[in-house]
Symmetry: none
Subunit: 399 residues, 2 copies
């Protein structure tokens, strides 16, 4: 099917705008209550929904809460099962690190340990990013024969380590127990393929502990999400789209880079995102705009703050529409109900607006409203097919 679809796609200049409010889907706090989205005052989104086709989508499968990377991959039209992306790769791509085929990346946390070797703080007292950067330089002295080790700062206590060499593999387990009061685990291979990498990671930890000895609170390292680069076809090849990512957070820029989007840098907030869109509008035909804080507030369990974030986005909708996108999709990558303080499996509301559609005439944009939309429940990966079709980019199949 994928190949057939690909063979039907034609290029044109019609513009698709994909606005993602991270973790948009929510839950009512009580069984007779409203969700965050249903609670928010969203006159612009409601008006849009009235003249749009609506539905709910499921990124992975019924009952499965997606992580951010698979959620976004699905929105970009890639089946997350076909392209599993480890956390290490997301971290590396997020900081623009040029990973090569065969590299293995892992997320690295600076942490605190006591003399017995037990972890006392998994975040090293939340050291600032500048200090993290200096410590990454210190770890640059690690020397492992046959394996190059590259350590780069991400944010605060978070960094990224990339192992480069022959016959490496991501079949290595996390060293982070996610607990304090115990020592980190050794990096153990999860299959024979991981033996060499696990050995290198063990040696890395040993040398790192020596190098960080006098750097309390950052005198230990934890590693998670060993991952190789997936072989993902680029959006320009797969969908003939010239795609741009206008995102604030590194991880989302990372996923965008993986599928070959032009990632616009130095976009610190929503205001800058809109200015950026205006600036680059003529140069691309697919625009991914990402708003992080709906998810953050959901994870915090702060219902009202999530409502406020949705309302903040609603206020800029008219300025997005002023760009006159040929297709606009507004949705999320997964649900993050404040009630659960976590990603959840609940289907995510979406609306799609274009010239040639049958508007559902809903009175507002909400989970249960979209549940009455004409699309019902669709796999997330299908949304891009609708966007391509509604911007006249898909030829007829068969005679």
């Amino acid at each position: 099917m994928e190949n057939v679809l690909q063979s039907l796609i034609v290029e044109n200049d019609k513009k698709i705008l994909l606005l993602v409010m991270d973790g948009l889907g929510g839950l009512p706090l009580t069984s007779d209550g409203l969700t965050e989205l249903e609670t928010a005052k969203t006159p612009a989104l409601d008006e849009l929904a009235k003249n749009a086709e609506c539905g709910l989508h499921i990124p992975i499968d019924y009952g499965i809460a997606p992580g951010s990377a698979p959620g976004h991959l699905a929105l970009f039209g890639y089946n997350p099962f076909d392209y599993p992306i480890g956390r290490g790769v997301v971290a590396a791509m997020g900081i623009g690190f040029p990973m090569k085929a065969g590299d293995v990346a892992a997320r690295l946390n600076f942490a605190s340990r006591d003399d017995a070797g037990n972890i006392t703080d998994r975040r090293a007292g939340r050291i600032p990013t500048e200090q993290c950067a200096k410590l990454c330089e210190v770890l640059g002295k690690v020397n492992i024969p046959g394996v190059e080790v590259l350590v780069r700062p991400v944010k605060d206590y978070r960094a990224c380590v990339v192992f480069r060499g022959r016959d490496l593999s991501d079949h290595v387990a996390d060293t982070d127990t996610q607990k304090t009061g115990v020592p980190p685990l050794d990096p153990e291979p999860t299959s024979e393929k991981g033996n060499k990498t696990a050995e290198a990671a063990k040696e890395f930890v040993k040398q790192a502990l020596a190098l960080l000895k006098d750097h309390h609170p950052a005198n230990a390292v934890l590693m998670r999400g060993f991952a190789e680069l997936p072989h993902i076809p680029l959006m320009k090849d797969r969908f003939k789209l010239k795609a741009a990512a206008v995102a604030v957070y590194p991880d989302y820029k990372g996923v965008s880079r993986l599928v070959g989007m032009d990632v616009i840098e130095d976009v610190p907030d929503l205001e800058a995102q809109i200015a950026t869109l205006n600036r680059i509008w003529k140069d691309h035909n697919f625009f991914f705009v990402h708003h992080k804080y709906t998810d953050s507030k959901g994870e915090d369990g702060d219902f009202q703050a999530k409502v406020a974030e949705i309302e903040k986005v609603d206020k800029v909708i008219p300025r997005l529409l002023a760009l006159k996108p040929d297709v606009i999709i507004v949705t999320g990558d997964h649900s993050t109900p404040a009630k659960m303080k976590a990603h959840s499996s609940h289907p995510i509301p979406f609306l799609i607006r274009a010239e040639c559609i049958r508007p559902d005439g809903l009175t507002r944009f909400g989970e249960r409203d979209c549940g009455k939309g004409s699309w019902g429940i669709v796999p997330t990966t299908k949304l891009i097919q609708l966007a391509l079709a509604y911007s006249d980019k898909v030829l007829k199949f068969g005679a």
Copy 2:
């Protein structure tokens, strides 16, 4: 799944009537408007919808507009990806030409060329069918060692050419550039497998140009859609159905023949279709009734004329119901919105009525009404499974 389903099917005399209004799905002209079907006055269909189960269906995939052949194959319960049908085969089957395994068919247009060899009219001044038939006889003189060439008239300037011989293949590109002022392309092989057929086609063109030299405006030929016969299991084997096609247009008779339906000839219009149904009602248990003009008017961009065609069909619904089908499905093979003047990817409304169902109680038969129907959106290939089940032709699965 297909084999499991097949093993569960039993034969009985209960009758299924599949009424297809070609290109039925439409779009509103303005975002607050109604579609063609929603606009049409359809008291009989509305009454039927009220007492039916309703939904929308998708023949190929989200965002993909189907051609007529794959759209109908899906309605007949065959996944169009499993059985790709080239245009040449559709044309040959449409005129009842008995293609054999290994034959390669192509559509042939008579065209006009100037002395320089450039095409001046891709339709040869739309010569009448009788003249087309005479010219096909003229082309009967083509003589290619080892390859039999059979040319048959279709309609107006359109004909069909079948190459018969050993080691032929449909890996040959179109010669029709779809432009005037340029010469036709040579029939080039698209892979090594197509070499022999391309050579034969080149020789055919060479001899045809000589034979047609004095037949201006029909002094050239264009070829499109080289195609081999797909290996499709017949409806009687796959679904144990004794199926009849009651269609006016050649192409739809062609697809019906491919799946082994009895194709009733000499059915010039809707009136004759109903008379035919009455005549053959006792001899079959599956009846495919096809109305072409909803699609034609949509392709013309004539919203009101498409509305009128739907109303014309609505008027005969009582006479179809008078046959007392055990199951009736009313739907289309794809959408052809007058607004787009083309096939589109928008889901197609359907209703299914039988004795043992849960009527949705909709107030009318329309796209957005059906969008609220209990079936939601289903793959087109599943409709026949519903029809089989609702006519008691499917055994229970498992103990």
